[in-house]
Symmetry: C2
Subunit: 205 residues, 2 copies
C-alpha cells in the first residue's frame, strides 16, 4: 500500500514537473534530464512511469481534462457554457492545463500531432447531444460536428488571449465566443434564457 501511494505521488510529481518544464521551454526544447531534476525523482523512477518524452506528453494531455466534471442541470447548453468558463479559469491558472495546451499546439506542426483535442470534443459532444434531445439546439445542428467546430474555435480564442494578455482576458473572450455562435446553435426558445457569461463563474466572482 505504502509502495503504491509512493508510486502515485511520484507519477504526479513527474507530471507536474513535466508541465512546468514544457510550459517554460516548449515541448521540443524540454529534456527528460531537467524534468527528472525538477521532480526530484530518480531516472529509474521516471522511466518506470513514462517510457519516453512522447509518453509523458501524452499523459499530460490525457490528464488535462480530469479536473473538469461538467455539471448536469436542466439546460445542457448552459452546462456547456459554464464548463468552458471553468476551463478558461483553469487555462489561466493551472500549469498542467497550460502545458497540455502548449504541447497540443506545438506538436500540431510535427509529423505526429498528438491530437489532444479529442477528449474535449467528446465532452462537448455529449453535452450538445443532450441539449439536442431537450430541444435546445436548432434542428440542423449535428452535435459532433458542432462540438468539433466549437473546440477548434475555442483553441484559437485561448491562443489569441494568451498572446494578448497572458490569458487574463480569456473569460470575457469565451463570453464573446458564445455570443457569436449561440444564434446559429441554440433554438429561439433556449436562446432567450441562456447566459453566455456562465452561471458558476458569476457565482464565484
Amino acid at each position: 500500500m505504502v509502495k503504491q501511494e509512493r508510486a502515485v505521488r511520484t507519477r504526479r510529481a513527474v507530471l507536474e514537473a513535466a508541465a512546468q518544464v514544457i510550459g517554460t521551454r516548449g515541448y521540443e526544447a524540454a529534456t527528460m534530464a531537467e524534468i527528472i531534476q525538477r521532480a526530484g525523482v530518480t531516472k529509474g523512477a521516471l522511466y518506470f512511469h513514462f517510457a519516453s518524452k512522447d509518453a509523458l506528453a501524452r499523459a499530460v494531455i490525457a490528464e488535462q481534462t480530469d479536473p473538469f466534471i461538467p455539471q448536469v442541470t436542466d439546460s445542457r447548453l448552459q452546462d456547456a457554457i459554464d464548463f468552458t468558463h471553468q476551463v478558461a479559469i483553469g487555462l489561466r491558472d493551472d500549469p498542467l492545463l497550460q502545458a497540455g495546451t502548449r504541447i497540443a499546439v506545438e506538436t500540431t506542426f510535427t509529423d505526429e500531432p498528438l491530437v489532444p483535442y479529442q477528449a474535449w470534443i467528446d465532452i462537448v459532444t455529449t453535452m450538445f447531444a443532450d441539449a439536442k434531445e431537450k430541444g435546445e439546439l436548432l434542428p440542423a445542428i449535428a452535435p459532433d460536428r458542432a462540438a468539433e467546430f466549437f473546440v477548434s474555435a475555442y483553441m484559437g480564442v485561448q491562443l489569441f488571449s494568451h498572446a494578448a494578455s497572458n490569458r487574463l482576458d480569456l473569460p470575457e473572450r469565451v463570453t464573446a465566443l458564445w455570443k457569436h455562435i449561440l444564434p446559429g446553435l441554440a433554438s429561439p426558445g433556449a436562446l432567450s434564457h441562456l447566459d453566455p457569461h456562465g452561471r458558476s463563474v458569476r457565482t464565484a466572482a
Copy 2:
C-alpha cells in the same frame, strides 16, 4: 537599377528560405546559418536585409498578407467570406504563409509574442465596417470586436485542420465556421443571399 533588382531578389530568396526552414524546424530551432545556406546568399547579404532572426520572422509575418487583395463587390460580407477561403487555399499551398502562421502560433508562448494577427484583423475589420454601413450586419455587432473574434476562431480552425488533415480539409472547415457564426453576425436580409462556401473558390473549382 541592376543592383536594386538584385537586392529585391536576395531579400525574396532569404524570406522564402526562412519560410522553408522555419516551416520545417519551427521558429526556435531554425538557425540563421541554415537559412543562409538554403537561400544561397552570403552572410553579409542576409544581415544587410535582416539584422536578426527576430527581424526576419517579423518580415515573414508582415508579408504573409501581401498576396491577398480582397475584392470589393456589392456584398462586403460575401467579400469577407471569399477572402477567408482564398487564405485557406494559401495556408494549404504557400510555404511563406504556412511559416508565418507557425511563427505566429509558436511565439505566442514566448515572452514577446509577435502578435501577427493584427494585419488580418485590420483587413477583416474594414470589410465588416463596410458591411455594417450597407446594413449587412446585425445592429449589435461592433466590426472591430467581431473581426478580432473571427480571426482568433479562424486561427483555431486552421490549427485543427493542420493537425487533422495537414490542412486538406481547411476549405470545408472555413465553410463550417461561417455557417456557425453568420446567424449571429448577418442581418436577416443579408443572411438569405450569402454563400458560406465562398464565390471565387466555387468558380475556381
